[in-house]
Amino acid sequence: MARFALRRVLAAILTVGLVVSITFLLAHLAPGQPMLADAERMHADPARIARIRAEFGLDRPLAVQYTMYVGNALRGNLGESFTMRRSVGEILRERLPHTALLAGAALLLAFAAGIAIAAIQATRAGSWTDAGVGAVTLTFHSTPSFWLGLILMVAFGQWLGWLPVGGMTTPVEHEQMGMMGRMVDVGRHLILPALTLALVLTAEIARYQRGALVDALGSEFVRAARAKGLAERAVLLRHALRAALAPVVVLAGMSVPALLAGAVLVETVFGWPGMGRLTRDAIVTRDYNLILGAAIISGALVAIGNLAADLGAHALDPRTR
């Protein structure tokens, strides 16, 4: 197990390095002279441009620039964003928790709904209810998230007026609220984007869990439990669900890329100030240091997700237990 874990961790680190390298290469192969142009666009004075030049080796060959960037990055210096005029590290530290909140809420919602749907389907496998619920999940699975978000925003934010239409907090008033008030405020802003992001994942989780539950319900130990005279409800809750819940870690780990990709669109639609919108903004404004910073974060998140999934799968696999 320990050797396996070590190998996976090394692979994860390698992945992050690869993502950064690909992004670096993309940025430098693209037309224009990225970093230097950034420095000039920052209204920087000559002394400062010279400092940035030296710090990131901008007039040196590409390979040298790359090593210098990696060296700086390893020391925690990700450079400065020209659009925000702040250090990239600082911006990432501020935005990452916002996306973590959104993705965490979405994951929680998706698992709660997915497992519930799976339980309904599995206990009625083959029935009309099963087929009907299956059709609904397939529909959500096939809906573009940004469009769904738009529709939800119009319906709940505009027509019904129940929820805020964008952003993460109520301006000004948020600052005047107490601790509880602030949490409620963020929570209200969180509902629609989290729901949009969750709806897309729910279908996957429900499909997977339904399969796992059907298998579990037909397995030896469940039959044994039934034979002992346990009520069907208890069988489902105590035995079958427990068996089906095991791969949650694996599923959650594997959801990370989908969550990140979804976050780009959903955060753009709802104006949620997280990593997704930051990534998109950085890319379209060609804020190179910020793009590379975002590459590190999304590479690391996906790698961590995969690592969790691998280790989870490894731990669950009867052959390695």
Partner: protein, 538 residues
């Protein structure tokens, strides 16, 4: 002296919609104005700030010597009201002497002196600063300070808008805070992100890409603003900003640019639409550095193939009009008729044929195997410009010209257009009240500056100089019209639309007046009645 000052203050306050019953006491003060802004500020240092939001913020923080009144009369002194200068006199035809208000203080407590004014003029004029407004100060030969409370402006020639040029273009900078910094480092200094001024508001905070705020200076020497603070929230998406207004998350927007959104805002009972003459003009600039557009006949042919009326009706509905040239309703020169290119597809077709561009397969024109095509760049943030470009694309296709639209993210757009790296660009400009700043956009001397298309015409330059010198409305109007006409017929750009502006403002704000060139010019007198305050107003 005091009587005169009092009289001036009274005129100022009454013009600004001041109501005596509210008094200067604290009962009438309070309130937060949240404004939805379409884009972030670039830098909060007046000589180099270019974005719309930056302009609004710095004009709250940095005062002028005198302020234009609502009537926007730039030609004589009655159009101005004192701010930093409590009074001024014309010593001769080329000299204005300003006397500073001794009560004026920088927000760190240091008194404002004539040295600050001299320093400010120097910064704007220094080529190291690279201020785009530098050319507007060309007519001023020197600024000197005989004593701490007196400043003397000397002009190169005698012309009517001297006071306007001396006051409107210069926002005063604190020498004691900036004097030690080289002019080419000012824009990147900490001050430019966290400014200290002497206006009715002081800087609050700036979260890049998200929010900027200013707070009332309760000790301002001309009386504190009624509102406590102004917050600008950056919302690039117009539909989203109108949604924020309807939801009460924002209170005001400078102007609602899209007709569908105006209709949405108009239906809401909490919002008031305040129409005002627009300082905006938009259109398409040709890059005359490109051989295709160096040819005047080509530009004219394209101009005649574009149906401006249809574009304006489609994009703006009733809330827009076709301009008479490079001028908007806000400017006094926009009255009367000026010769323009006609919409005449037959004539456009004849011109293109005569240039050798003949219709080929599919009706598209070509010459020596080369298709007649060009690319127009437009910023992704402006839906209006993208819509207009799309309509032009359709109209030009009927004339056999293939137009490609390249949407660019706004910072990339700014960079490429400033560098002259484009074929054609969709532009939008906020004009000054005076037509004099046409020099900034079209004079030969501004090539490399904001004359993005590199239009060079000695004839235009001399017409412009003549118009600037002429005295009196009736005498100068025909001269200004000649300037506009020359620009229309040379067609370095197509002047396509000028909106009829509608600001949308929450009804709880009272005493709302709008000076068209700068909609927040009188915001210090806007107020919220105590009984209508929201939690955020307290």
């Amino acid at each position: 002296m005091h009587r005169r000052l009092f009289a001036c203050a009274l005129i100022f306050l009454s013009l600004a919609g001041y109501r005596g019953d509210r008094g200067a006491g604290t009962a009438g003060t309070g309130g937060t104005l949240i404004i939805a802004a379409p884009g972030d500020a670039d830098v909060l240092l007046p000589p180099v700030a270019t974005t719309q939001l930056a302009a609004h913020v710095i004009q709250r923080i940095f005062p002028r010597l005198a302020e234009l009144k609502l009537g926007l009369n730039t030609l004589d002194d009655s159009g101005f009201t004192p701010v930093l200068a409590r009074r001024w006199e014309h010593r001769d035809a080329k000299t204005i002497v300003f006397h500073l208000d001794p009560r004026a203080r920088w927000q760190d407590g240091v008194p404002i002196t004539s040295a600050d004014v001299v320093y400010t003029f120097g910064v704007y004029r220094d080529s190291l600063t690279a201020s785009p407004y530098r050319v507007n100060l060309d007519p001023i030969a020197s600024v000197t300070a005989p004593d701490a409370g007196t400043v003397v402006f000397t002009f190169r020639t005698s012309y009517p808008e001297q006071l306007y040029d001396a006051t409107y273009q210069l926002l005063m900078l604190p020498k004691h805070l900036l004097g030690g910094i080289r002019d080419d480092s000012l824009a990147s200094s900490a001050f430019a992100r966290h400014p200290v001024g002497a206006g009715p508001f002081h800087f609050g905070h700036w979260e890049a890409g998200t929010e900027i705020s200013v707070e009332a200076d309760t000790t301002w020497f001309l009386g504190r603003p009624h509102l406590d603070r102004i917050v600008w929230r950056v919302m690039p998406d117009v539909a989203a900003s109108v949604s924020a207004l309807l939801a009460g998350d924002a209170d005001a927007i400078e102007f609602v640019p899209q007709r569908d959104q105006i209709e949405r805002a108009a239906r809401d009972t909490m919002l008031r639409l305040v129409p005002y003459p627009s300082p905006f003009i938009g259109g398409l600039i040709f890059n005359l550095r490109r051989p295709l557009f160096a040819d005047r006949a080509m530009r004219r042919a394209i101009g005649m193939a574009v149906d401006r009326e249809t574009i304006v009706r489609s994009v703006f509905g009733p809330w827009g009009e076709t301009p008479i040239g490079f001028a908007t309703r806000m400017q006094w020169i926009a009255s009367g008729t000026v010769r323009q290119l006609r919409y005449d597809t037959a004539e456009a077709s004849r011109l293109l044929d005569s240039l050798g561009w003949r219709r080929g397969a599919g009706g598209m024109r070509q010459r020596a195997g080369q298709p007649l095509e060009f690319t127009v760049v437009t910023p992704t943030t402006s839906r209006i410009r993208q819509e207009v470009a799309t309509l032009i694309q359709n109209q030009l296709a009927q004339a056999g010209i293939s137009l490609k639209i390249q949407p660019l993210e706004v910072s990339v757009f700014d960079q490429r257009t400033a560098a002259g790296d484009f074929e054609a660009m969709m532009f939008s400009r906020t004009l000054d009240p005076s037509p004099g700043n046409m020099v900034q956009f079209w004079a030969s001397s501004s090539v490399g500056g904001e004359n993005f298309g590199a239009y060079r015409s000695p004839a235009f330059d001399s017409l412009l100089a003549a118009a600037t010198r002429s005295r009196g409305r009736t005498a100068s109007l025909p001269k200004w019209h000649a300037v506009l006409e020359r620009l229309n017929l040379d067609a370095p750009a197509l002047f396509l639309y000028t909106p009829r502006n509608n600001a949308a403002i929450h009804r709880r704000f009272e005493n709302v007046t709008i000076r068209p060139d700068s909609w927040l010019a009188t915001v210090a007198t806007w107020s919220v009645a105590p009984d209508r305050r929201l939690p955020r107003d307290r």
